[in-house]
């Protein structure tokens, strides 16, 4: 069992009431697919988005594990999983790469506003033909004097419809491999940048998705983040943070669900006995606990190894697989344990199942994670 310092616990406790408040009204927003603008403003004011960044750029200077610990609290306390997803996207899509690879000038221009939420960030990686095969991207940026001219399109961009700032991954050299990809900051009002309509989707309906297009979009060369051709390495770094920060939210979701299921199993009587006394119910709850604790260990241990500079490629794949699939299973089991109530929209459990399903698809599908592990094991 991992132990947290009094400072870390106090930090999370201080956010607890805010997390719960931001979740209020989540069912209605889910039904209408509405981005929670008012709650987002409060998220920014709370300092949550400042956690991992250097105080020199308005951050709170917390380490990765503390950031994850607080985000687990967000996943537990805030029932609006779409809002939580937007928070994780903000941190890892723009904040983390800017913080790690950005120039001082880029940080001065953008990082403070990402850290206080006044600018919403998104990253644009996926293309129609690509999905998990990100290295096959075809959108291009061509040097023209002091500028780059960008053409192409990206799809399924989380936060896209509301984003002010995009971190865009495009090809600056020919070929189809991982090199020759570079990363650019593109502001929303840049001529030639087309923001598509919100795409309706199964879950996480309050974090909006859209496609974006680039039609001779001109950005200064100084908007390149990191070095020419290093975009894939930046993306690799970002994906590590994404798995750790986005899926620790799922850990909080499972913990919340487990408590609700235990309470329901203890109080609900059928055929003269509490339903928790039936093994077909209690086994589901036990499996939920095992999924929670196994995922927790993988996520935090992997974070520690990552910080220690170890190669965590397989560990991340296992952590992502474990957590996302434990989240889906526990959500499906919760619907079953609650029976008719689980199936009704008003209890929010069917929404949890829809939200959880996305986690087995984004950040590399479960199939891709298994394939990655298989390749590292040299199975084929």
């Amino acid at each position: 069992m991992r132990t947290w310092s009094a400072e870390q616990r106090d930090l999370r406790i201080d956010f607890a009431d805010k997390f719960a408040a931001w979740g209020e009204g989540h069912l209605e927003r889910d039904r209408t697919g509405t981005f929670p603008w008012e709650q987002w403003k409060q998220v920014g004011e709370s300092g949550l988005l400042k956690l991992p960044f250097d105080p020199a750029w308005g951050g709170l200077g917390q380490d990765l594990l503390t950031t994850m610990y607080v985000l687990e609290g967000l996943g537990y306390g805030c029932r609006d999983n779409g809002l939580n997803s937007s928070v994780a996207t903000q941190l890892v899509s723009t904040g983390i790469p800017l913080h790690r690879f950005g120039t001082t000038e880029q940080k001065d221009r953008f990082l403070r506003s990402v850290a206080d939420g006044t600018r919403i960030g998104a990253h644009a990686i996926t293309e129609r033909h690509g999905g998990s095969d990100a290295a096959s991207m075809k959108s291009t940026a061509v040097r023209d004097g002091d500028n780059y001219v960008i053409n192409g399109e990206k799809c399924f961009i989380s936060n896209g419809p509301v984003a002010d700032l995009f971190l865009l991954y495009v090809r600056t050299q020919g070929g189809t491999g991982p090199f020759g990809i570079s990363t650019f900051l593109v502001e929303r009002n840049t001529p030639g940048l087309g923001i598509g309509e919100v795409i309706d989707k199964m879950g996480l309906r309050t974090t909006p998705f859209c496609n974006i297009t680039f039609d001779d979009v001109v950005v200064p060369a100084s908007n390149m983040v990191g070095k020419l051709g290093k975009g894939f390495l930046i993306l690799d770094y970002v994906m590590k943070w994404e798995v750790l920060c986005a899926f620790v939210l799922s850990l909080g979701n499972i913990r919340n669900r487990l408590e609700r299921c235990i309470e329901f199993a203890r109080s609900r009587t059928q055929f003269g006995a509490k339903i928790g006394s039936y093994q077909s119910i209690s086994n589901k709850i036990v499996d939920m606990k095992i999924g929670l604790e196994t995922s927790r260990k993988w996520l935090y241990d992997t974070a520690e190894d990552f910080l220690a500079g170890e190669n965590v490629m397989m560990d991340l794949a296992i952590a992502k697989l474990m957590t996302s699939e434990a989240n889906v299973k526990s959500a499906a089991d919760a619907v079953q344990i609650f029976g008719g109530r689980g199936y009704l929209t008003e209890f929010g459990l069917e929404k949890d199942l829809r939200d959880a399903t996305g986690g087995t698809i984004y950040s590399g599908t479960s199939e891709i994670q298994r394939d990655k592990i298989s390749r590292i094991l040299r199975v084929s």
């Binding site: 991982p178 090199f179 070095k227 051709g229 690799d236 490629m313 390749r375 040299r378």
Partner: protein, 89 residues
């Protein structure tokens, strides 16, 4: 052990365990022959970064640097000439 031997040992161990380091020619195309794919490149770069203390963030790289064992040796030499890396191998 030279760079070349160290690199070959790693590649054989991690990617082609069915052959020996003697079987792996210095000019064998690792990418065109499917020995190292995009995931493998990330692992290889991470290993080079750690083993040879190469500050990957600070130097220019491209796919040609990793096509053959010879190219990888050249990459390490270039990194050493442009930075102050410790030649660990």
């Amino acid at each position: 052990m030279s760079y070349s031997d160290t690199i070959k040992s790693y590649i054989v161990r991690e990617f082609v365990p069915d052959i020996t380091t003697d079987d792996l020619a210095d000019d064998y195309d690792l990418i065109a022959n499917g020995v190292v794919d995009s995931l493998g490149l990330l692992r290889l770069i991470s290993w080079l970064e750690t083993t040879f203390s190469i500050p990957v963030d600070d130097i220019e790289i491209n796919e040609q640097d990793f096509v053959t064992v010879t190219a990888i040796c050249g990459f390490i030499d270039r990194a050493a000439s442009t930075t102050d890396i410790a030649k660990a191998a």
